[in-house]
């Protein structure tokens, strides 16, 4: 960015801008590597806007322009419009229901003409982040009080609920990353622990025979009662606590998870989760089976094969990279569409195959640097708003990075969320760029106390 213009560059954290630049460049390069075919004219490909990498380049430039505009904006604008923006975001989410166009098996996209797609569930991340920061930074908010905590959770999870209703499970899960912000701002660590335990319980439910798990849980509860027998003698409350925990656990295991799988998740999502833990999903009834097959057809049209295949091919691609990789454009797996959705969700394969373990580590290092830098930036803020916002950015990025990469290496179910700044996709690139530049803008005014 131009350092000749002191008005813009004053206080800007250039390391973040550079990391943004490097990541976007890596992204364009990876998309180029994944979609370039021998004989294509490179320069023409970049100029024509017909190729994916040229379009990504365009969005990269647009992202930069948006960044300049954001840097020219007053920081107070963001605090002032945070709630308004949130309301606008929710409105967009609601508008999706009547106006969505069904493409690629999702119901979360509004189409404007043929060229521009709007996915409010994705964009809403910015508004939620701002709104949450705004709420947490309010002088009146006492975040130690459960009421405030519940309000914060509602702010964060309302778009998630709409996302689920729009069949965008992956995007919905992203909103859970805001719990990290709340944790930083004083949410009891027990909430995180309980959440984590809940996740473990869900996975265990999938892995272990229901009755065995119920017996095991009962055993754990009895053991806890035995260990805590002195405390229980003193107060019946402890006993009640253990009993209720046991009750909740078994309830989750016996009723909540099956309910989620049968009524909330789409059959193909259930199948993906099952595939991840290495089990075959047998649909319970005829209707589910039919639905699954329909969905399968949709997906087949999109991905050319099922998700087992995706993950397997992705693992082969990354694994075949070895220590130093095959080199740019030398990858055999990533270049010939073995990995479906390769430019978008599975872009990491290109890096894993082309540059091997060393390249992947450097790539992860850049992300790590970005996250650590954002946390560092967050901690130097004087205003709570900026800090919350920074943590929000870090959490969302973290969630995207970890889930996306875990997806490609077989550690997470394929829920289809992009790799920030790298995956192909205009909306995603713009959203992340705007998020990051708002952070840079807020950080430039770190001496100011924003409310």
């Amino acid at each position: 960015m131009s350092q000749r213009n002191p008005a813009i560059s004053k206080g800007v954290d250039w390391s973040l801008v550079w990391i943004w630049f490097i990541l976007c460049s890596l992204g364009i390069m990876s998309i180029f590597a994944a979609s370039y075919r021998d004989g294509d004219i490179v320069l023409q490909g970049f100029i024509s806007l017909k190729t994916d990498y040229s379009r990504q380049l365009l969005f990269f430039i647009l992202g930069g322009i948006a960044g300049i505009f954001i840097l020219l904006t007053d920081s107070k604008f963001f605090t002032a419009t945070a709630n308004l923006g949130y309301a606008f975001g929710i409105l967009l989410l609601l508008l999706v229901f009547p106006f969505h166009s069904r493409i690629k098996g999702t119901e979360s996209i509004i189409k404007f003409g043929s060229a521009f797609n709007l996915q409010p569930a994705d964009m809403c991340k910015i508004f939620v982040n701002l709104a949450l920061a705004k709420y947490l930074s309010r002088v009146e908010t006492n975040f130690t009080r459960p009421r405030s905590q519940i309000i914060a959770v509602v702010i964060a999870l309302t778009p998630a609920m709409f996302s689920i209703m729009q069949s965008e499970m992956g995007l919905a899960l992203v909103y859970f990353s805001f719990f990290l912000v709340m944790f930083r701002e004083g949410l009891p660590s027990s909430v995180l622990i309980i959440g984590f335990s809940f996740a473990v319980l869900v996975v265990a439910t999938l892995l272990v025979e229901p009755n065995t798990l119920a017996l095991a849980l009962t055993g754990v509860a009895l053991l806890a009662i035995y260990i805590l027998r002195k405390q229980i003698k003193r107060s019946k409350g402890v006993f009640m606590l253990v009993a209720s925990i046991w009750f909740v656990c078994v309830g989750v295991q016996r009723f909540v998870v099956p309910f989620l799988f049968e009524h909330v998740f789409k059959p193909y999502q259930v199948q993906r989760i099952y595939a991840l833990i290495g089990k075959d999903y047998v649909p319970k009834d005829q209707a589910t089976e039919v639905a699954l097959e329909d969905e399968q057809k949709n997906i087949t049209r999109r991905n050319s094969n099922n998700n087992n295949y995706n993950v397997k091919q992705s693992k082969i691609a990354i694994g075949s990279g070895g220590l130093i990789g095959k080199g740019l454009l030398k990858g055999t797996q990533t270049r010939f569409d073995f990995v479906p959705e390769q430019r978008t969700d599975f872009i990491f394969c290109t890096i894993g195959e082309g540059f091997g373990f060393v390249g992947s580590m450097l790539f992860l290092g850049i992300y790590m640097l970005l996250l650590m830098r954002i946390v560092a930036v967050a901690e130097r803020q004087r205003s709570v708003f900026s800090r919350c916002y920074a943590y929000g950015v870090a959490s969302v990025l973290f969630f995207h990075i970890v889930i996306n990469i875990c997806m490609t290496i077989g550690l997470a179910p394929v829920i289809g969320i992009p790799l920030p700044f790298v995956s192909y996709g205009g909306t995603s690139l713009m959203t992340f760029s705007i998020m990051l530049f708002i952070l840079v803008r807020l950080d430039a005014d770190r001496q100011m106390v924003l409310r």
Partner: protein, 703 residues
């Protein structure tokens, strides 16, 4: 508040770092520890494509290509790209209906997937290709692909050249997986014998596949590829015009012609009748044609020159003379007082010549083909007192005959040569319980009894007689282009076999004089060519066949062997024609025409007329019509029995259609053997009751 929760930033940093560590560990596992992914990736994305070189060309002695390559076209289909085509028009071009069209598309989709090209119709006939080529742009998803095909520009030498076909499981196993499914290999003739030379060296190209198994690009810019090396060309001794003449002369006959260059052992021509057009086994209708040829009871696929086992008859006599002379049991001056009958043993044998003194000496005996003289000579050889017993005598005799190249495979460079038969003591011991003497097998002296030879062997004996004792293993290939002098394949043909050079030249001169007399004044006069000193010998053998439980006598097989010119032999010929009567009318003229054509490089006007008349005569054994009918109807009946589908059988059971069928197959229905008048070399009565079938599966086509 922020100060209060400061420590939590570290926890968040820890969470970030922890998750990244997990990812790093998994990456380490995938990329460094686990080696299987590299291999999986190669299986995924690399395709070893075999590049087939063009097969070698086979030339004749004047550099004309007898077996060459040409391009035919396959119609390929890529099912996924087929859309919006005028199916009706397309089917009309191909001559199929839409149901067939659909089933073929489904078939291609099923076998090779929708994204890879498969063959829709292979080896398009030229007219269909022309029609499609103009219109192929109208049919997206279809394209025409070149395919090299063997072609025989002279339509000749089918049995010698052989044909190529897809490998079968036996070849695959034998080759130790050198061949792959779908490869073409030589299945007979020189194509099979010189497979390794003709096929060249397969190249390998590494291609990158995409997720739909389409080949996308060369891998690493062809760095690992090995180029294909074209097959080596073969230079043969053959004279294709001579070959064409030989095949022409055998038209409508069962028999064989072999012509060898005695000085080198190079085979100039080798024909077998009935034959077939070699191009019928390369083009679009090859399967159909092959089926027809294979089911023909006259055996057109059989190369009788190396597979036909015939009694040599009198053509053995020059050999008998040489053996007798060498053993010292006869001399050029010895004679036999024959008056038309040999009476030395219990059963007399007739001799065609009655004039007293027709066997006054060896030369006369050969010229007049005296049976008595040679039976006597044979008995003298077997009962030679030098060996003390007839057993030892017979074995010694066998040794001589084997030295003449009879009774074992000569080793010609064609696959599946027959050995013929020269019996030894063991055979007679078994049959006669060890009580036999020279009278038991005395007709072997006139080339009958259990003696059988192939036409190739007969021609080779002539080479030995012409060369006065040595021969080179008969072979076709003179040179392999690009092979050095030390190549091992042809070395065995360059080795001179001095099998009988110990017999003095004087003895050969006597025998050759006798054989020259055969052509000049004796039984082989029809073979005489003005200005050429030719030595020859006629032969006739009776031809019996067991058919429908009855032993029928067919007309005799005519045999003629010769070489010319006498002083500097350049060609030795053996001719066998089945079912023609006697040697003079067919075998001798045929041999003579071959010699004339080769030595003079042209034919006189009268010879050309002779060619016409011989070529136009149909001498196929008549029983073949019925034999074909039987074979076909039995096959139809078996089919009906196995499948319950009797439609094929009906035309054989229905009286009217059956008569019509037999009638269209052949006009003649008689099985009465024709006993021809024999002016010269007459057949001898065979004492053994069992007839030697002249040729395995000999017979006629459905003419």
């Amino acid at each position: 508040m922020s100060v209060f929760n400061q420590s939590r930033s570290n926890i968040i940093r820890l969470i970030f770092a922890g998750m990244f560590l997990v990812i790093a560990a998994q990456l380490f596992h995938l990329q460094i520890i686990s080696g299987k992914y590299k291999k999986l990736a190669e299986e995924n994305a690399l395709f070893r494509k075999s590049i087939y070189p063009t097969r070698g060309i086979i030339y004749d002695r004047k550099g004309r290509s007898i077996l060459n390559n040409t391009i035919m076209y396959d119609l390929m289909i890529t099912p996924s790209q087929v859309r919006n085509i005028d199916t009706a028009y397309f089917c009309q071009l191909l001559g199929i209906d839409t149901a067939e069209f659909r089933s073929r598309i489904l078939d291609a989709r099923f076998k090779n997937g929708p994204f890879r090209p498969s063959i829709f119709e292979d080896l398009l006939p030229p007219d269909m290709y022309a029609r499609l080529e103009e219109n192929i742009w109208k049919f997206p998803g279809f394209n025409l692909q070149e395919r090299p095909v063997r072609t025989y520009p002279f339509d000749a030498a089918a049995h010698i050249m052989g044909y190529v076909g897809e490998v079968d499981s036996a070849i695959l196993k034998r080759s130790n997986n050198f061949y792959q499914l779908g490869d073409y290999v030589g299945r007979s003739g020189l194509e099979q014998s010189y497979e390794r030379e003709l096929m060249g060296q397969r190249g390998i190209e590494f291609w990158l596949k995409d997720n739909r198994n389409r080949l996308v690009d060369h891998y690493q810019n062809k760095a690992l590829d090995t180029p294909a090396v074209a097959g080596k060309n073969l230079r043969t001794y053959m004279d294709i015009e001579l070959q064409q003449l030989a095949e022409r002369l055998l038209a409508g006959k069962v028999g064989a012609i072999v012509a060898i260059e005695p000085r080198t052992g190079g085979i100039l021509a080798m024909a077998s009748g009935p034959g077939y057009n070699p191009n019928s086994l390369t083009g679009p209708a090859k399967q159909e044609n092959y089926g027809r040829l294979a089911l023909d009871v006259s055996g057109p696929l059989l190369n009788r020159a190396i597979k036909g086992q015939y009694q040599p008859g009198s053509t053995y006599k020059p050999l008998g003379a040489l053996i007798g002379l060498d053993e010292g049991v006869i001399s050029p001056a010895s004679g036999y007082p024959c008056l038309g009958l040999y009476t030395g043993c219990a059963r007399p044998v007739k001799c065609d010549e009655h004039k007293p003194g027709h066997a006054a000496n060896l030369r006369l005996a050969i010229a007049n083909s005296c049976n008595s003289f040679f039976i006597n000579a044979f008995r003298l050889e077997v009962d030679n007192s030098e060996f003390h017993s007839s057993r030892a005598g017979l074995m010694k005799w066998k040794e001589y005959v084997n030295a003449f190249g009879l009774g074992h495979r000569i080793g010609v460079d064609l696959p599946s040569e027959d050995a013929g038969n020269i019996p030894d003591t063991a055979v007679y011991d078994k049959e006669y319980h060890r009580s036999w003497n020279s009278c038991t097998m005395y007709t072997m002296g006139i080339g009958q009894d259990k003696m059988t030879v192939t036409p190739l062997q007969m021609a080779n004996t002539m080479c030995i007689v012409a060369n006065k004792g040595y021969f080179y293993t008969p072979h076709f290939v003179e040179k392999i282009d690009g092979a050095g002098e030390d190549d091992t394949i042809l070395n065995r043909f360059r080795q001179r076999h001095e099998v009988l050079t110990h017999i003095p030249d004087a003895n050969y001169e006597v025998v050759q004089s006798g054989m020259q007399d055969v052509v000049e004044i004796g039984t082989g006069r029809p073979a005489r060519i003005p200005g050429i000193d030719m030595c020859g010998k006629t032969g006739t053998a009776e031809n019996y066949r067991i058919f429908e439980g009855k032993r029928i006598k067919l007309r005799n097989n005519a045999v003629f062997v010769c070489f010319a010119p006498r002083d500097n032999p350049r060609i030795a010929v053996a001719v066998v024609v089945e079912n023609v009567g006697y040697g003079g009318t067919y075998a001798a003229p045929i041999a003579s025409l071959i010699v004339e054509k080769y030595l003079n490089d042209t034919l006189r006007a009268e010879s050309r007329e002779k060619v016409e008349s011989i070529a136009s005569s149909d001498l196929m054994p008549t029983y073949l019509v019925r034999a074909q009918f039987l074979a076909d109807s039995i096959r139809a009946a078996t089919w009906a029995l196995q499948t319950g589908d009797s439609t094929r059988l009906q035309k054989y059971t229905n009286r009217a259609s059956r008569a019509a069928l037999l009638d269209t197959m052949h006009k003649i229905h008689t099985f009465i053997p024709v006993q021809p008048k024999m002016p010269a070399d007459k057949p001898k009565q065979t004492p053994t009751p069992k007839p030697e079938l002249p040729v395995k599966g000999a017979g006629d086509s459905t003419r």
